[in-house]
Each structure stands twice: as C-alpha cells, then as structure tokens.
Assembly symmetry: C2
Homo-oligomer: 448 residues x 2
C-alpha cells in the first residue's frame, strides 16, 4: 500500500502527530501503524491499579483519529527502507511513504546484572495492555510488594497499591525519593506524604539481587538487609525503543536516542522522530538529555507534523523543559525547569526564594491547602530557570504558569510587575500569592 | 507625628504597598492609616454568608505588617495638605510624610434615582465589617432575597444565600448574567449552573423601584412585574472613593478615578494612588477603564512601592488586564484579557477557537470535570488577546496561564510549539489539553 504520511507508533506522540499532520497538511493521506490493538494512556498506567481499577478505563480512544480519516493499522513495522521509502511489516505488508514519523517510544529497564530478574512475580511497567492486565491479575494474590526505584512512576504505583491494601515498600538508591526531579524540601515532603499513607520507604540503598527459587521471595539490599517480597516491581526508568531506527541506519546519539534537529528531522530529510525514542536536548543548556515525558512528546509531535512538508523557522522545538508533577493523596508536587541542584551542577549561579501560603482565601475555606512556591533564578540577570510547587490540585496548572514564565524568558522583575487573577475559592490571595511572594524574595536578595 | 512613607487605606492594595515598600525602601519608616479596626478580605466577602458563615473567618491579618515593623493607625484622614506634606485625621492627629500612597478603595453604588433605596432591608455590599455583620444578622429573619445586578459579587452572594436556604432571585438589566465579563457560551453556562442550584434569574430587565412602606416588600421591574422581597441587595458595582483626593486638589479622570502615570504617581510627585480609587487603563488599548480587581490593585501596589523613592522604567504598570474567575458549586468560570465582544467593539479583527475536553486523564478518574478553553486572537498577527475557561477548581490557575500568555505577547504559534506539563490526577491529557487544542484550531483558521 501507499500513504503520504506514515506514523509508526500509536501512543501520545503518534496520536498527536497524526492529528496535527491532518490539520497542517490538508488532503494528505495519513496512516498510523501500531503494534497494539488498544493503546493505554501512558501517564494513566499507575492509576489502573487503584483509582480506576482496570486498564479498560485508561484507553487512548481511536475515535478522534477515525473522525479525521486517519488510517489505523494494527501491525508491526519490521524494517524501514530509507532509499525506497517504504516499510515492511510483520504481516508481510509493504507500506510506501512520502514522509515518515518514528514514534516507537520506550521500554522499561530490566538490568542484565540483576540476579533474580526473571523470577516469577518480578514485573516491569511497560505501556503494553496485555502485559499490564496479566500483571494486574497476578497481583491479586500477592500481598508484599517491593518497588525498586522511587521516580514518579515508582511512587505512583506504590501509592496506588497501598491504597488497595497491599503492603508496599519502595527501595531507592538515591538519598531521596523523586530525588532527580525535586530539591530536598519538596522531595522530603513527598516522602513524608507517602509514609503517612502507609508506604514504607527505603532510600540511599541499592538492590543486590532478587531472592527466590522459582518465584520471588525477597529482595536483598546492598547493606545485606532482606525485604520479604511476594512481588518485585522494577521501576528503574525507560530506554528509547530504537531497534527499528538503528536497523534502518538512522544515527543514534550517545544516550541511544534517535538524533534529530530542531524540526525533529533525523539525518534523513523525509524521516522525523518524536517522543521517547527521539533525541532530547535541555531547554536551559542545549545539552543532550534523557527526560521522557508524554507532554514533551506531544509538543515534539506538533512541531514534527507542522514541519513535515515545509519547514518553518518559528515552529521549531526549543529544547526540553521538564515540567512535571504528581499527587500523593490531596497533596501535589510540581517542578518546571531546573531545580537548584541541577542548575548549580550545570554551572548557573543561582538565587532561590520560596514562600508558603494557602491556596484559598480566606484560608478557613474547607478545601484550602498549604501552597509553597520556590523559584530558582539566575543571579546576574534575574532570569527564572526553574520553580517547584507543593499544594493542592491546582498545583499542575500553577506549575504550568512557571513553565510559561521560563519559556518566555521572564525575569523575577517581570513577575513582580505582572498581574495574576485570584479568587477565594480557586487560588491564594492577591496579597499572599506564593508565586509573586517568592519572586519578591528573590528580587530582594538580588538587590542586596 | 512624622513618617517617611504614609499609606492611606488598609485593604489589599494598602497592605501590599506597605509590605513592598518595606522590602524596597529599607530603613524607611512606614505608617498605614485606615478607618477600620479589622479589615475584611475583600474578595472573600460573599463567602461570609455561607461557606465560612462569619466575617471573623474572613479577616486580613495584621501580623505580617506588625512583624515588618509597619506602624498601623486606626483613624481617618480628613484632609491632605500637599504643600506642607501632611495629613489631618479625625482624631486630630497631624501626620507628616515624605511619600504618600492613597489606597482609599471604592464604595458600592446606591443610585439616587432608585425609589425605595432607603427602605429597611435594602443593603449594599461594602468592605465594612460592622455594616456586613449587621446586614448578615438582619438576613437571618429574611427569606425572600432579591439581588439587583448579576456581576461577580451579585452572583456569588446569590449562590451563598441560596446555599443556606434563602429564596434568591437575581435581577440583571443586561441580556446575560456576568455579561460584561464573559461571552455568551460561558455566561449561559454560568447561568445554568446557578439555576440548577436553585437561584432564580431574571435578566434583560431593569428595576424601576423598590416597593414597601417602612421596609422592603417587593421589587418593581421595568416590565411591570413585581417580585416579592423581604430584602433587596444592590450589587450595582462600585465607584472610586476619592473625596479625600478631590479635596486635596488631585486630578480625577473622566470616570472619577485619581489620575496616575505608569508608576502610579499622581500629578503630585510625592503622592501615589493605587487600587480601586486610582486610574485604570486597559492593557490592550491603553484607554481608560473601570475594572476594579483586588489582584490588579496588588500589582499596582507593588509598582507604586517599588517606584516610590526612585523610578525604574522596567517596573511600570503596563495597563489593567482583567483576569478573573469565580466558582458556582464545582464549576468554575474564568476570563483573561478581552472577550470576543469587547475585542470587536475595540476595533480588533479577531479569530476565536475553543475546545472542550476533560481536566483529568483518563476522564474516568472520580474528580474529573469538563474543561473548555476559548482563545480570542488577533487575525493579522496571531497575538492572543483573551481567553475564557470553564472547568473544575484548577480553572483559576489555568486562566492565569492565559494571563501570562497575554502579558508576554504570545501568539498562537508560540503556544502550539510550547511545552506544558500534564498529569492524570491534575490536568487534561497532553494529547487533548484544551488550551493547546484551542490554539491549534485558531492557527488552522488563520492559515485557511
């Protein structure tokens, strides 16, 4: 068969690429090929274990694509022929394309060195519905769960399993949970939240091996301690899924991601790459990065689709700015841009300021929540490099406010002369809005 | 007595001016003089009738000012002597100042032409605790309440009184409630929300008079209809409180606000004016405006305090951008910048785009809420002029995202290549984030 635009991969990036390509390249035929009959909402996966109880309630719907006339094929591309501009599939199909977008995503790390990794009841967390459904079912009869790795997905799964009554222990090699994302104060508060809800946290200690004969029995830590485990969940990060690209001769960078330019174009002018499989460069430094986020993937997808048939210098991807957040119970934790530790490591001379207030006014309103905002600012020019937030459910959008400040190169001075909207039932008070107050504190430090 | 910086008025603007002045003009003595022993949180006033049940839980605390060493005087300034740079007070004090900030606020409109306006049980909504406490007490025995004016305060009070079991009717002369703030779709949905909760809405009809002998009995509308009323609450807007400034010979603009420049300086170089009493100019047009908002007042207060002793051309007030929102039950409604009707009236050629999604992903999560974003964009250059939001409790901060887009002169193109953060429990999905989708829809229209 022939298609004008072919997209490999049907998760968030592939879906958005198809939608945007349809809207920007009118009249062009678009085919999306994916392995999965049904696609999971990637960030929703931790919540199938507790909050929504089944993967069926966490499906990325096809309706929008069907409505736009995108041709969806469930099959697997086994090779790409760059010269002839076609792909071969597992079912024996040959699909000719004019433009190709690779969005093959990532897969969970299951380290070779880890003894016991193939024991029964050791799981990873891929975006694969069949695997997850089977994993979910097996968990029913397993009570003591040890989760290795306390990044976002690890702690979200921990909290969900705890919620349904499992005995959950998280093991993290770093000195703090979420330690790569957050500075100490926020990470510690997130940890306390998790502990208060009943999750056990074991940090600063690596894992030596998983013990058991045919099935998991315990986890042996580097300090000799053993933790009983009916099941071990490995949440050790993800690596780009690039076999196909590699086989096709596309260049990978030193971290193993498909190299792309600012239009998300690979070395091959008609092949683009987006999402977890494609190269990331940090917004603040331009250096290679490993940050994988569905939201960033979607931004890359929009950029690729808009530049597919004609390049536009004002529609480029400016580099990944990590904007992420999570919630543990009623408390949410967010970060945008660089945290202090990373900023310093990257060579920035920074000033930070933080302010803690309440996200309603008066604070006596029943659903009020403490709200803390911390800003990380370059000392010599006042540019906002990053921010962290602790608060209630509006933490997500408040972190996005900081994300837009960073993307617009705002300085603390710009922030303190800015106008924000406030309302008793929805935000902090205008006189004590933590984002503005934090900026004032930084401004004062910069002046003194 | 002598003070270096004197602030008249203790509401949000006065408070923020004092705090910022302390931080920016170190060492200077600051005195804040106000009439009220206890200051109400202005935007919290509607909620004393239901959600917090008493004005005692809606107090702007003095602790922060005391801690900073701000001298608070409860007294009333009766005259300002610009030449001698002093103020006389009701208690007979003479206060000499170096710099003066006027933040005398606004007072509710009680139109002269309205027959029956002085009947018993006719109330307005000032920021005066004593008045409000008495009003609140009197309401206990009054059941049928008619509120005249369906702006934000009118509908918030209506919803709160309905919540505690009163029979509430709102009368609005415009064809829609909140009609000055929102375009039709949002205003209609807000109205439906209010009606669903039990408030009666009577719109497109003015009021002729309030009937009654000694106390309120009914409201007579312009169409001859009578609505029984044990109490009538006038929520017809506010006028700047400028008697003092006028008497001192400070220039007022044609709308009756104290004239100021972009540093919030009056014609007199040592006298600044901020908040509801001071001149407003629209962000998009630079024309005089009447928009009064506590949040804007606080931004003006910061600017005035920063420029009090030395001007800074990068710390000016760029014009009022109306960013406001409210909640009716679990649904919130927000607007930033110009709505479509105002934009067209002001002479902009605009394109709008709106998208409705869900503020969680998967949408099956229990506290998910429909989320609609509409963008109002200049056709010739793609600049975002305004936005409207309907959604859950994160509507406030999402509206602030749009507010920052406008203040940063972002175009729809900038938005569609931007990165946002998303999370299942906190925001819409990255593939269906209504703000980005609305921008895409506008971008498509602009291209076609």
């Amino acid at each position: 068969m022939k298609t004008e635009i072919l997209i490999i991969g049907g998760s968030a990036a592939g879906l958005v690429a198809a939608t945007t390509a349809k809207s920007c390249n009118q009249g062009k035929g678009i085919t999306l090929i994916r392995k999965e009959e049904t696609v999971m909402i990637p960030c929703g996966i931790p919540y199938i274990f507790g909050s929504v109880m089944t993967s069926e309630k966490n499906i990325l719907p096809d309706a929008g694509l069907h409505k736009l006339g995108v041709n969806i094929i469930v099959d697997e591309v086994t090779s790409i022929n760059k010269e002839e501009k076609n792909c071969k599939t597992k079912k024996g199909e040959i699909i000719e394309y004019e433009k190709l977008i690779i969005a093959t995503g990532s897969k969970p790390v299951k380290p070779e060195w880890l003894k016991g990794r193939d024991l029964k009841n050791v799981f990873v967390i891929p975006k694969d519905k069949e695997y997850l459904d089977s994993f979910h079912k097996q968990l029913e009869n397993l009570h003591k769960i040890v989760i290795i790795g306390a990044g976002f997905i690890g702690i979200e799964v921990a909290d969900e399993l705890n919620k349904i009554g499992k005995d959950v222990t998280v093991v993290e090699i770093l000195p703090r949970i979420l330690g790569a994302a957050f500075d100490e104060v926020v990470a510690n508060e997130a940890e306390q939240c998790l502990i208060d809800r009943g999750v056990k946290v074991n940090k600063g200690i690596g894992i030596k091996e998983i013990l058991g004969t045919d099935k998991t029995e315990a986890v042996l830590l580097n300090n000799g301690e053993k933790i009983e485990a009916d099941s071990v969940i490995l949440s050790l990060g993800y690596v780009p899924n690039v076999e196909l690209a590699k086989k096709a001769g596309l260049k990978l960078n030193e971290f193993g991601f498909i190299e792309v330019d600012q239009y998300r174009r690979t070395g091959e002018p008609d092949i683009f790459a987006i999402g977890d499989c494609s190269e990331k460069r940090d917004f603040a430094t331009g250096r290679l990065s490993k940050t994988m986020l569905a939201s960033t993937a979607c931004a890359e997808a929009r950029v690729a689709a808009m530049n597919l048939c004609k390049l536009s210098t004002v529609q480029t991807f400016r580099g990944t700015i990590g904007i992420y957040f999570t919630a543990i119970g009623d408390t949410a934790f967010g970060v945008a841009g660089l945290n202090k530790a990373v900023a310093i490591k990257e060579g920035f001379d920074v000033v930070t300021g933080s302010f803690t207030g309440i996200d309603r006014h008066p604070g006596k309103l029943e659903d009020s929540h403490k709200q803390m905002v911390k800003l990380i600012v370059a000392r010599h020019n006042g540019l906002i490099l990053g921010g962290e937030v602790i608060g209630g459910k509006s933490t997500g959008e408040l972190t996005n406010v900081i994300g837009f400040m960073i993307q617009n190169n705002m300085t603390v001075n710009d922030v303190i002369v800015s106008q924000i909207g406030t309302h008793p039932l929805l935000t902090a008070s205008p006189a004590g809005y933590p984002l503005i107050k934090a900026a004032e504190i930084v401004a004062k430090t910069l002046k003194s």
